[in-house]
Symmetry: C2
Subunit: 230 residues, 2 copies
Amino acid sequence: MTAAFYQNEVKFFVSVDCIILGFNQDELNVLLYKRKFEPLQGKWSLMGGFIKSGESIDEAASRVLIECTGIDDLFMEQVGAYGDVTRDLGERVISIAYYSLVNMNNFSEEALKEHDAVWTKISEVPDLIFDHNKMIEDTMIRLQRKAATRPVGFNLLPEKFTLPQLQKLYEAIYHTQLDKRNFRKKLNSMDILEKLDEKDKKSSKRGAFYYRFNKAKYDNFLEQGFYFSL
Amino acid sequence: MTAAFYQNEVKFFVSVDCIILGFNQDELNVLLYKRKFEPLQGKWSLMGGFIKSGESIDEAASRVLIECTGIDDLFMEQVGAYGDVTRDLGERVISIAYYSLVNMNNFSEEALKEHDAVWTKISEVPDLIFDHNKMIEDTMIRLQRKAATRPVGFNLLPEKFTLPQLQKLYEAIYHTQLDKRNFRKKLNSMDILEKLDEKDKKSSKRGAFYYRFNKAKYDNFLEQGFYFSL
DNA sequence: CCAAAAGTGTTCGAACTACACCCATGT
DNA sequence: ACATGGGTGTAGTTCGAACACTTTTGG
């Protein structure tokens, strides 16, 4: 039994909410859920869960993420704590948002249905419960900064991807158009990708070469004192 | 009485911890306190406080900040939530860190003594309780990113400051040396400062002109579609 | 043969880096 | 008069932005 040092203080429910992002058909998507309990049962929301007693915040976020995706070891980062007094309509709950970048292809239709989950284009996110829309907005800003300086974008793609795909991804993240030649030139100069012999012929007749992110090359790139920036 | 929706869940103590940063004699400083209660009474720590029931996290942080500084309306930003199960030696406490940038000159010796507070050079911060050292480290990284893209540095200086002072500040934040001429050229091109007639003669015989950050000029600068970057 | 996407280099201007000397003044 | 920190301009280089045509191939 631990000593009760803080007897006079108030306790709060604390939850985590997960912003799970994927990329498909040139658009960022977020995984939304129909809420399964009151209050606001049936409304659209992020997937979340209360922190349990033996569990750190990161662990709680991992747990929720695994519940949702069935996948372990996903890229995940804390966005921040949300604590307006009336943010939750039920009782007072402080929530800590995490975002995760996943490869949408790893999700089966059944897995999604089972949880009442749908991938929703970022541009078409409806009104969500509580402050969940704000959490997504904050996440988008954070992702922009992160993706500009760290190679986290690859988490949103399959292991093998084409350069046009990669470019579309960054265009979606930054919400801009990029020049094909400049984009490729920059990537080329970093030498962090591995070109495969295989081509993807789904999106064009000619086909585009597959590439793979090469961690060893990237580490080497960092050792040279360079910084990733796209 | 609100409905009890979440009866089966666990509640936690939630606190805020404040990283109060100042700048003096070419160094960033952080305000440290001798802890006033058990556990670890008398040890060095950040100033913190438990969140109270009617209070948002931001409000709690503001309250603690005002208690410490006597000043309202300080620059303040959330760093993140810290929730390792055993981070607090007393009972389990989840803590949310905020950093604030202040002008050290606004603190009287008496005000500091009253709280058992001391300004400590960032390079000389001792072992603090719990994860407070980690909070400071995370803050420094965050400050670097923030200061590079937003004019937040001015919060660390008196209203009137000299260019050598400003340069020293950025050198301290980035932990690097900057070229005097290039630094001034860049600032000049932004046209966000107002040159005063007055000179500061404390640090040299010739004296250095005072400048003042001009919000209107800065807003205009933004409207032109430029971004602050130093 | 043609539509549709993949792939490829060069030029120009802007921005950053490096760099050295004179100025003002308190002691 | 001199030591100390304040203030100023230019040249070279690098980096990012703009830009158009050829290639491949399924239909």
